[in-house]
Point group: D2
Chain length 345, copies 4
């Protein structure tokens, strides 16, 4: 039985509390938030669970094996480091940290102490994204592009830009689904409200191959869109997260290339690009709640001393791109290389 404490009871914390309280193999020991008034409802619903505004108390509690952190991003690093120094396993919200340097130190600390460090890349535990990875692994032919749109009239985050708030989802999905890691990023965007971070942004990600990825995020869109296109030479995927049931559609479409360009020259080659369209299918998806699956995996990792799919390295890769994209955005799209992140991963 793994004892878990939840730190932070704002937007996401209640989801963690509910799932941990119901999962087998774990025991929700305590919930901690600086605002004690938020915790009254926890006590009412789960009388056996401790509530506190003192993080150190949680650290000292020998019943607590693991700590789940759901605070604002700026606090992730110091809380996670203290937790690991106290010998606790860590499950931390995404993005994992405010800078790649912080994320790197968290990864090192977890490795040194042989602790589980899991990053809450929730989407990769959905049936839709897992199916998408399976389809990509089975092959789309040559990989061409990954294009995602995630826009709506959303709440402004006052401490981080729309990239850290929304693109982080796409980057974590891409990190899980694609067979390659990006090597450079170019980002553009704009802040439309004085004193606020960017509320619209466009990221292009380059890879060593001809694969190209693009992410469009926007807090000020009149309609909600959650759509990803993945294009390969022989198959293409449309992932629409707003579809109630057919979230993943696989198209047997593409181009066919015939001829020998070296020999025939460009003119002839060009005439040999053909188009192919076949059936579409929408696979049945596992509709289990992603967060439940994810916590299940975290608990199993703690018990078996293994690392989860979204480990600290995955979290670091995502933060490295967020950081680079923020740099690029400040320079109107100047490309920023991601070498360091690649080296570590």
């Amino acid at each position: 039985m793994i004892g878990i404490a939840v730190i932070g009871y704002g937007y996401w914390g209640p989801n963690l509390v509910r799932n941990i309280a119901e999962i087998s193999g774990a025991r929700l020991v305590s919930v901690c938030d600086l605002k004690m008034e938020r915790l009254a409802s926890v006590k009412a619903r789960y009388p056996a669970v401790d509530i506190t505004d003192d993080f150190d108390e949680v650290l000292r509690d020998p019943r607590v094996d693991a700590i789940a952190i759901a605070t604002p991003v700026s606090a992730h690093f110091s809380l996670a480091m203290k937790a690991m120094m106290a010998g606790k396993h860590v499950f931390v919200e995404k993005p994992m940290a405010s800078t790649a340097e912080e994320a790197r130190r968290m990864v090192d600390e977890a490795a040194r102490r042989r602790l589980v460090l899991a990053v809450d890349h929730t989407f990769i535990h959905t049936g839709a994204v897992r199916k998408m990875r399976e389809i990509v692994e089975n092959g789309l032919g040559e990989m061409y592009y990954y294009d995602s749109v995630r826009v709506n009239l959303g709440l402004f985050q006052h401490d981080v830009s729309v990239i850290w708030d929304l693109a982080v989802h796409d980057l974590s999905i891409m990190d899980y689904v694609l067979p390659e890691k990006p090597v450079a990023v170019s980002a553009t965007g704009m802040s439309h409200v004085m004193g606020e971070p960017e509320n619209i942004a466009y990221l292009t990600l380059f890879f060593e191959s001809k694969l190209i990825a693009h992410i469009h995020v926007n807090w000020l869109a009149p309609v909600k869109v959650r759509r990803t296109l993945i294009g390969g030479s022989s198959k293409m995927i449309v992932y629409d997260d707003l579809e109630p049931s057919e979230k993943i559609k696989v198209y047997d479409k593409g181009i066919t290339l015939n001829g020998n360009p070296q020999k025939n020259g460009e003119k002839v080659y060009q005439m040999l690009v053909g188009y192919r369209t076949g059936d579409m299918y929408a696979p049945q998806l596992d509709m289990t709640e992603a967060l439940g699956r994810e916590l299940r995996q975290f608990i199993d990792c703690v018990e078996s001393s293994t690392q989860p799919i979204a480990d600290g390295h995955a979290g670091l890769r995502v933060v490295r791109i967020l950081e680079a994209a923020t740099q690029s955005l400040a320079q109107r799209g100047r490309v920023v290389e991601l070498e360091q992140a690649r080296r570590i991963a």
Copy 2:
């Protein structure tokens, strides 16, 4: 009665021929194409119209007042220049020329000879785009963004990239609808077929204000998308060209900003961003064929010695962006300034 000759009878030429043949106030004099076999059907259908593969013959023909050019882009400049030197008014397909330098010389030539030079920016003559301009003119509040997606499994153009083939539509619509002209562009993209131009591209356009524009074009998408979002502080527009009837939707949505940031400091200011959602409406649109309206306007301009909405300057502005985007794309998104185009416009 204006006499018109059509040059080029490939993909678009037949539409010009059909519309000119039916329009009042104009007379279709001749149709010219290097491949005479293409013209047999013209003769069968319009016995009174001359067909020829000799452009000089058209230039010498005194019955021809104006020449409509629907050839590949690379021939636009020389054909239009010869036509104007022969005193003919010109209606030329988009993009107007292969380079901004060519476009600039065409503009100069038309001005010097007081000839009408019209560029076939067809979309700006549709009911949907005209309504969109009207709504923008009536005010969306502060202009925030213009975001367009134009993707499908389309025919590769072997001589020009997807930017020159598809983004040209968005740029001509933007040029017509937005109250400002862009000052810089950052573009990324990729060619997935060796020896072929880029088949996927992303353009970000910067303005002097906080307005930002973005265009996504792709020849290898599994689904067809033709959707533009225009965001303002008080209203937003969704233009979906694939909707059979409700192509334009206007959302009474936005954010409200209260407080005095200078005085209260950033913290307080942030709490004063509010959200507002009201009714949506889809205005009834004029469904007249755009090309017919456009040719009507061209003929009126010739008769009254005035310039059309999409004149050579508009065509040049679009080509200038295409050219700059192509430069930026080759450098993975490095921003390219558009000063020269601004100066001329």
Copy 3:
């Protein structure tokens, strides 16, 4: 402060409990179900609330002013009658009773004892349906038709047909939205599983005017549809309950009739039918939870001794149609008159 007991803690009961527990002006006194094991979670969450499997105990409890009944339909009548005989106000799930005769006796009992009898026609308290009624009241011209489709792969109800399970929603919405009551019904349908009630059904409702209504319900559809069309001579409404935000669309469309048919004869008259299409708009809707609004209204009615919108008469009108439709269905669409229901209403 009105004391309320909830009877039946199966599918819908938990929603009643949650809403009553949170509403001001009411006190959740007790929850009763024949299966005590279902009630454990109630006690855990609301320690101050009594749980019991003895309905008589509830009836005797002087703290209980009103009883909310969420049991299977077959028990509604006897429970509601006992409750009223004990002087309790009643809030009962839809359909109100198994037969029109039962419903009529419930109405009489409530009238005799001056008790509030509310039927839980939840949908009429949604922002969408209330807006729809408002639009209809403001006028669609002459009313032409009301057409509703409510299909999906749904759970078979083993005790009632799809008419009693799904069409009851449409009938209660129609009863609230339309200015007229139906006078006759023709229904067809089929049971595809031996021993089970009809799983697909089609109802046509006739009115004294030229208004016609039709309802299509189906438990075995591959896709979920919740769409109602309301047609008038000058405006038409589409109500799509699956749309996340634009549930109600109002079309300024219709036909125009000119000429004098008496004088001109049929031939001439026919040429004078014209078509008119204008703007569409989707009004902003109140997104408050319907059940909360409805219980608020019930409590207000108890306090002020008034009757709610969906009172016993409304419930009876709906049951009368369900009963008549069931008769018609058994005779492959033979029309059944609804005179009695009209007389009472």
Copy 4:
């Protein structure tokens, strides 16, 4: 080479003329219409084709082997009978005739003279409907229902009701796709314009098995819908003719029935109804123009003295249902048996 004359050059005639003019193995001999002015454009486009307003002239013309009739329905019978008496094969618009008696006599005449009698059930020659038949033939398990909606703001036909104008499409598709023929019909509907035929109608069709079919047609709908659901115990189909490419979707969904109802009694049986949902797929469809395929088949039939898929019997079956539905509609849904039609088919 089969010589063909087209009779009637109104709405549909021009499509016949264009297709016949372009098809191999046929020769368009003449086009006949009572209004000679309509035929001027035929002469302009096809100088070698005769135009006339004299049907007898066509009948006497030895170059004419077959006659395609595209006049108003009321003239189909007399024109087709005269044509057959003159030894001409016949291709007649749908519905084939104004009454079942007329249709029957046409069938008899064709049989007696060994002439080809084809009815223009155009939809059954589309890729979508042919694929749908193929899927049904391969098995959907036990057939449950066929449900079709065909509504829009359409032109009033002043001589026939919406059933004869729109439901005729659904009936001809059903006749082709389903393995069974209906045995009875119940129809309801309404005319909302004085002096005009019914503009909205609902048809339920009964079969000897548990299959049930329903058709909803409406000339006064604010939105255009063309959607058919076909449900079976193991698979279900959605056919949406307005989808640009994925017109047919096949759902691997249904219910599973376990247990032995005779033995276990109703209660136990009911608990054994299970639900099953699997993948969906949208097969690639042949996008060839239906009318071209259909005329190709007609010409082949004339050459080989065989009967087409949509022969006179198919046309008669459809007219028989239209007639019975019209009777039922006049009696507010009273069921009308279709025995005679069954006997003939």
